[in-house]
């Protein structure tokens, strides 16, 4: 597991036929709906599909099951710049 957010987790996965590594974001639909984040999620999905830049995390595949959304994105092995000290759930 690479990380855990408020809506789910990010897993390191390998595509079987190519051996390529990706970060797979798994989001729980019930949590998204409960937190009224449906529009945000849709926006994220649409924007990621629309953009193509070497400086923006690429979305390779997206699929869903009854209760979860799956976004298969670039795997960045170098980590992040910093985790914030201040954990806000953005609901202020």
């Amino acid at each position: 597991m690479l990380g855990k957010g408020s809506f789910g987790k990010v897993l390191l996965v390998e595509k079987v036929d190519t051996g390529s590594l990706y970060a797979m974001k798994v989001l729980r639909k019930d949590v998204i709906i409960q937190r009224k984040q449906k529009l945000h999620m849709r926006a994220e999905r649409e924007i990621l599909e629309d953009v193509d830049s070497p400086f923006i995390l690429g979305l390779h595949y997206a699929f869903q099951t009854n209760d979860k959304l799956y976004l298969v994105m670039d795997f960045m092995s170098g980590g992040i710049l910093k985790r914030s000290d201040f954990c806000s759930d953005k609901d202020f």
Binding site: S53, I56, M73
Partner: protein
Amino acid sequence: MIFVLIKIFKGELFFHLRREKKFLESKTRFYAAEIILALEYLHSKGIIYRDLKPENILIGADGHIKIADFGLSKQGIEDGAKTYTFCGTPEYLAPEILQAKGHDKAVDYWSLGALIYEMLTGAPPFYSRDKQQMFRNILEVCEL
């Protein structure tokens, strides 16, 4: 299309800025330049990012950065158009977002400024443990 979960991931999430405390100017300039390229690209497509913060800057094996997490981005913003939703992470929030006066793509450059400050000094500007105080710190700047 089949994916397998890799159970053992030996690498560790690296918090670069946490580990190094602060960056040299040359490194800060490099990251800032790549972030600007990402922002310019998004703005050219009418997208305001609105969530620029160190957690959303991912670093690849090659040392280049990519920005992630578009849950707060606003689409369909042309030059001059303003949007009114209130969101973002407190440390990097632009005053016009706090004042709910309407904001445009300039808020991304405010956040970039805050991020550059943090890369150079190790802490975000206007920071306070007290969220309300942090808001006041940010708003005071506008009154100068």
